[in-house]
Amino acid sequence: MFQTLAKVVEKRILTDQIILVTLRSEELTNNVKPGQFVNVRVSETCYPYLRRPFSYCDVERDTFKLMFTIYGQGTKMLANASIGSKFDVIGPLGNGFNLDDDFENAIFVGGGLGIAPFPFFTRVLKNKKNIYTYIGARTKEFVVTYGLQNYKIATDDGSIGFNGNVVELLKNDLDKKFFNGKIKIFGCGPTPMLRALKQLSEEYDLICEVSTEEAMACGFGICQGCPIELSDSSGFKLVCKDGPVFNVKEIKL
């Protein structure tokens, strides 16, 4: 873990609401795994006060990208940063996706901005595994395909792709035996989507890891602010330190 200043080197507007900011830092780009995250201090003053966590969306040499929706004051400040400005960033944080399992097909399922960790994951797994990406969004305006490959889209209103939710779309392909070889599902998105993925993975007996989200202050385990309940109700783990990636069997969604 490092606390360092990262310099804004590029900004790209992907849709009306979604922005991609590229920052440069050697420390924050060494030995990063897909699914890990950074905690960014967006303001030097006390407003907003807490850092903001973002997945590593992509990592290339000494730069990393953050993809986010301009939602509140914090994301607005980061989106408005000028090229060359610097942010105090802590990272790499958390545990990323686990690549040790035996699988040939990596199935990425992203709901909304839940696709954020998958461009980096795609870069890491390219030419090593078959990658299938399932993108879910409310409407076509919220669909982002940046850095993704071999994707299918589902929208709630049917404005593009499959009319329905992204887990139903994946279920159709599983029913059609669309994939050859062992499958592992990697999910990131809103809790109802992760819950549906948990059910699907149980139904089809598939390994599934999900990246979870919870409000956090520190990002490395000292505030204890981001609990997630264990499946057996024995207690909580911390999203920041024990996660954000968990085997879906381990947690209650």
Binding site: M1, F2, Q3, R41, C46, Y47, P48, Y49, L50, R51, D88, I90, E214, A215, M216, A217, C218, F220, G221, I222, C223, Q224, G225, C226, P227, I228, E229, G235, F236
Partner: protein
Amino acid sequence: MNLKVKIGNLELKNPVLVASGTFGYGIESADFLDLNQLGGIITKSLSLKPRKGNPPKRIAETPAGMLNAIGLANIGVEKFIEEKLPLLTKLNTKIIVNIAASSVEEYVECVRILDKEEIDAFEINVSCPNVKEGGLEFGRSLSKVGEITGKVVASTNKPVIIKLTPNVTFISEFAKVAKEEGATAVSAINTFVGMAVNVFTRKPKLSHITGGLSGPAIRPLALAKVFEIVQNVDIPVIGIGGITNSEDALEFLITGAKAVQIGTHNFVDPSAPIKIIKGIEDYLRNFNFKDVNEVIGSLQLS
């Protein structure tokens, strides 16, 4: 230049400590700062048995601050001694263990068990706003604070620091009781009870509904509480509340706090305590003080 301060018999190499609940069990922040440079580490509150803590949402951001309802999630005294203390005792800084309990007996039992270990002092949390048993119910009762202090003091020869809640009318009355029952010092303050509502869902932002407000938003309030104690009770005070930089820390020291604790700001800037120690040194140098004790209590009221 001397940065050493004494709180009873407890000598700190400098007046900057890290507050309980904002620094884990003391070693998690080692990537960001040299722990040996700290005046002391106050561990996360421990109870006799492990506590799961409250379900999410446990935290919410508020203007210049945050609300928390962690609910004293901790691994319990036994596991702390086995797993955490061996690493902590290797450090060259003072280790102060914070205890939170649901009954007077539990406070005493925790202290009795830990008293045999290599720790330097106890901080007794009688003021957590986020648990049903103990917590504020104790901290708002003069007789309970007195009883807990007296019994804990009788169970150990180590310094006992009572961490007071600001959620009372006159905090100095509680400091007075702590002193009468033999406490070495008081920590002031713990968090204020606060609340935030999500207007879109019309639900409280915390699952516990209310939580403890901390951060820069409470600093002027905390300072006034420290001032009230210093003016009324002759007991060392450790100042806490929204300290983000050396100037904030100096406000407390000048007002009369013998030391300060950095709390919520550890989440925002984990290297802040070291920057604050350096900032205090710079201040002493710039204003020709040879000893930080010359600054402590130097408030000019006229």
